[in-house]
Amino acid sequence: MNMPTETDNTATVAACMPDRAGDSPLREVSLFLSDYAAWLLGSGATCIRLERNVDRMADAWGCKVVMTILPRHIHLTVSSPDQSESYTYITATGCYGISFDINTGLSRLSWEVADGRISFNEARRRFADITATPPESPALVLLLASLANASFCRLFGGDWAAMAVVFIATAAGLYMKQLMLGRKADLRVVFMTCAFVSAVLGAGAGLFGLGDTPEIAVGTSVLYLVPGIPFLNSFSDLLAGHYICSFSRFLHAVILTCCLSAGLCAGLLTMNLGMF
């Protein structure tokens, strides 16, 4: 069993504890794994990935882990192989937002631990580095998402004028989304507002007679708001048997889709466009 010793307690998790002289290695592992699991779940990972990654690291450190994964909390118990010592932590996942960089980094970290390439102390340092990963540049995201949505318009049969209108409508809506999220606005209000802005601007193709496919421009101008990752994660959790998380994620995605639809309908009604 190669659990960490008491002398290598230097990094993030237990740094705020006033007296760490009595901390056992198993307790350090428990704290690390609960923090790791909370970050992974909060960054948009599926439950099956979470279980595999945590089990992989626990096996490498020679301990047993039992987890209960809830939509916003993780209940984690780590015990020694002979069950003589165990620690249980309940950690809130927080609101980190979906980040593929963090997901990938944390998964890679679990494999490095499992392969024995890094020590526990090094793993904690790497974990702190990964969780401090900065988000992608908002300007770059704005540009790429607008180009992607314009490409969607093309895939659905839109002409070049419709693509240009969709590009502008997406850029405006996504810019509004970034502004409002930066002000910590409610996500549902953000979705309704951005869908309305994009729908109204997307209807400009029909309003000014630009191109031959104005209806495709309106329809595809709000596609960037569709919550694809929560839907995919909910089905993944459903297949893995994590019904509570699956239902929670599905409901969250449905609520966002309803908000998106409400904003789109408001935009269409404002622009005197028929919905069906």
């Binding site: 927080g94 609101c95 810019y175 606005a185 409610d186 996500l187 953000v190």
Partner: protein, 89 residues
Amino acid sequence: MITLDIPLMAWCTVAVIMLALIALRAITAISRHRKAMAYGKSGQCSRICRQETVAPKLKFFEIGSESEELFLPGDKDVTKNDISDEYAD
């Protein structure tokens, strides 16, 4: 008789608001950049501009106090709603 073209008005209103927001943001960024340069901190200009952009969080639209898609690295405020032992009986 003048008829009111609501779609055109709505489109123009949204377009003008978005342009105004973008212009306001650009002007603010440029003025902060100039201010940072004027104080002779050209080496730290990008950091100062970034800090000043992030720091003043006006509480507009605060129907809910959190947004789930905003990722702020290191912003793990677990102590905010924590009831610590000092409040226990």
